[in-house]
């Protein structure tokens, strides 16, 4: 059974058809990569899954039940967390508060239990084996790009629980920090999460994903298991060569 299914999704911006007839299944304990050239419809698809956009047509099924997301917060409450490229962290607050923004833990319903937030943030980060963080009391503005990414992912895991959508998680990172994020994604899969990673970096895609979803011109150009494909085929799908040859 698929965790999240899209059935025949269309989305247009005015006269521009951003995506058409998109159907796909995302499964638990699998890493799905979403690739495609600029303008292929990746961002629109991610926004629909994350609840930031509503499709014009088509159906979204969460555990086989049709759902509608009124916004990212609604999707989050239904178990789908998205880490957008800007990470949506609060630079002036510490790591612990950032992990609990909007749902701060309280004691006796009156004051915020900062200690417990620090303990739980620390155990979430430890559980994901993120151990390059100086402290959960450190301000996010003092963290490196990779550490910020880790906080955002940690929070998303903590909030989202079932499906994690990562929009270009390694785009702004150096080699070493990219590795750390990729092995973090491995661990999320091992913990049974479903992950959808948008990436331009095919090397990273092949390193981390189980299944590769290729978009071209607003449509699904192909869905391949990693074991049954190679980078050349994926590149052909991205550039649309196979479609014009009529192979797909």
């Amino acid at each position: 059974m698929a965790l999240l299914s899209l059935r025949d999704i269309d989305k247009s911006y005015g006269a521009v058809r951003a995506i058409q007839g998109v159907s796909l299944d995302l499964h638990a304990a699998r890493v799905h990569a979403l690739v495609g050239d600029n303008g292929a419809g990746k961002s629109t698809l991610v926004k629909i899954i994350s609840g930031a956009l509503q499709p014009d047509h088509g159906e979204i099924l969460l555990n086989d039940v049709p759902v509608r997301f009124s916004g990212p917060f609604d999707a989050l409450n239904q178990g789908i967390a998205t880490v957008f490229q800007d990470l949506a962290l609060i630079p002036t607050r510490d790591v612990a508060h950032n992990m609990f923004v909007g749902k701060e833990l309280r004691r006796w319903g009156i004051w915020v239990d900062q200690r417990r937030m620090e303990r739980e943030a620390s155990s979430v980060l430890n559980g994901l084996r993120i151990h390059n963080m100086p402290s959960v009391r450190e301000l996010v503005s003092r963290l490196s790009g990779g550490q910020r990414q880790a906080v955002a992912i940690g929070r998303a895991v903590h909030e989202g629980r079932s499906l994690l959508v990562l929009d270009e998680p390694t785009a702004a990172l150096g080699v070493r920090e990219s590795h750390q994020v990729l092995s973090l994604i491995d661990r999320l899969r091992d913990q049974g999460m479903s992950v959808l990673v948008v990436s331009h970096n095919l090397a990273h895609v092949f390193r981390v994903s189980d299944q590769i979803i290729v978009m071209h011109g607003g449509r699904i150009a192909g869905i391949r298991d990693k074991a049954q494909t190679d980078q050349e085929e994926i590149v052909r799908l991205i550039t649309g060569v196979e479609q014009s040859l009529g192979v797909v």
Binding site: F73, I90, R93, H97, W111, E138, H179, Q231, E232
Partner: protein
């Protein structure tokens, strides 16, 4: 896996996760434990202490119990407005209209009492009028997305105009004793404004520092979009902060009218800048997301001590504006430089 022309392929597929073998620390933060929180408050306390020490070398009349009683009494209502303003600054906004609101609410309360209405009703109406201004400020800034500088400048002029218009420039005076006690009574030998300060400033400080609402003020000021995305009702948080600032200003107007036994349309002048300046000196950021009530309080104390000390030292009051303005500019400069380091910009 196939070979390809992509240069990242070899390095990305290499099993080089460096941290994988490291043992996990059981807890985070031992470094942070020795780093004291509230460094800004501590340094402000030191600055205030040095100032007191320094000035008392020049004059024996500054560091006296009598002088500080006067100083604190003059500061008491300002400190309440300051605490509320700290909320608002932390949420990333500010409010210039407090002068007008103080004057307007004092004039309304005084005018109604002078017209023989019950003083409790008069206070209620004055506070309600102040609250309305806060709501207008908050709604304009959040729902219509009006610029907070121009909006609160506008409501400042409107409320100041109402204060002048209602009195036609003439203050009302001679109120019943029941009303005079609100600002003038001295239970246990302590003036009422100081009691208000002792009760309200810690409450406002506690709400900011320890409650979920306070955390939401910080989140809203730190990154409005990120806070909204995670379910913080940023508009509501902002409106409440504007409302509380206006209510504290309304209370101040009522207390001043009672304390002075007169309600003039120009009782306060420059309170807004003194309060915002005090907060910024005390470490509150004009860019939002940073600041505490204790820090702001110590900053305001510093500003008021400068005024007080220059009076004691015989500096002309005309020059005090220039002095305070200079201190304010220095604090704003420090804030801008700190913001460049702290923010993701």
């Amino acid at each position: 896996m196939s070979t390809s022309g992509l240069p990242e392929a070899t390095e990305a597929t290499a099993p080089s996760d460096i941290d994988e073998t490291k043992t996990l620390p059981r807890t985070y933060g031992w470094k942070q434990l020795i780093r004291p929180r509230g460094r800004r408050e501590l340094s402000m306390l030191v600055i205030d202490g040095l100032f007191i020490f320094g000035v008392s070398r020049f004059t024996p009349y500054f560091a006296t119990a009598e002088n500080f009683k006067v100083l604190i009494l003059g500061m008491a209502m300002e400190a309440i407005v300051l605490a509320a303003m700290t909320w608002l600054l932390v949420s990333g906004m500010f409010d210039l209209s407090v002068d007008g609101v103080v004057n307007m609410s004092g004039v309304i309360a005084g005018g109604l009492i002078a017209a023989n209405y019950d003083y409790r009703l008069a206070i209620l109406v004055a506070m309600a009028a102040a609250g309305c201004v806060g709501l207008v400020n908050g709604l304009a800034v959040t729902k219509i997305r009006m610029d907070p500088l121009m909006t609160t400048l506008g409501t400042w002029w409107v409320t100041q105009g109402i204060a002048y218009g209602l009195t036609k420039g003439y203050p009302t005076t001679s109120y019943p004793n029941a009303f005079l006690n609100i600002g003038g009574a001295t239970p246990l030998g302590v003036d009422m404004p100081i009691w208000y300060m002792i009760v309200l400033v810690p409450i406002l400080g506690f709400i900011l520092a320890k409650t979920r609402f306070g955390y939401h003020l910080y989140a809203t000021g730190g990154s409005r979009e990120a806070a909204r995305l995670h379910g913080v009702r940023v508009d509501r948080v902002t409106i409440v902060a504007f409302l509380v600032v206006a209510l504290t200003a309304g209370l101040t107007g009522v207390v001043y009218a009672s304390q002075l036994n007169t309600a003039a349309p120009n009782v306060v002048n420059g309170l807004n800048l003194r309060v915002i300046g005090g907060a910024v000196i005390g470490g509150t950021s004009l860019y939002g997301g940073i600041g505490t009530v204790p820090g702001a309080f110590l900053g305001l104390l510093f500003m008021d001590m400068i005024t007080n000390a220059s009076t004691v030292l015989g500096v002309s009051p005309y020059w005090q504006y220039a002095l305070l303005g200079g201190v304010l500019l220095l604090a704003v400069a420090a804030d801008a430089i700190a913001a460049r380091r702290v923010r993701l910009r």
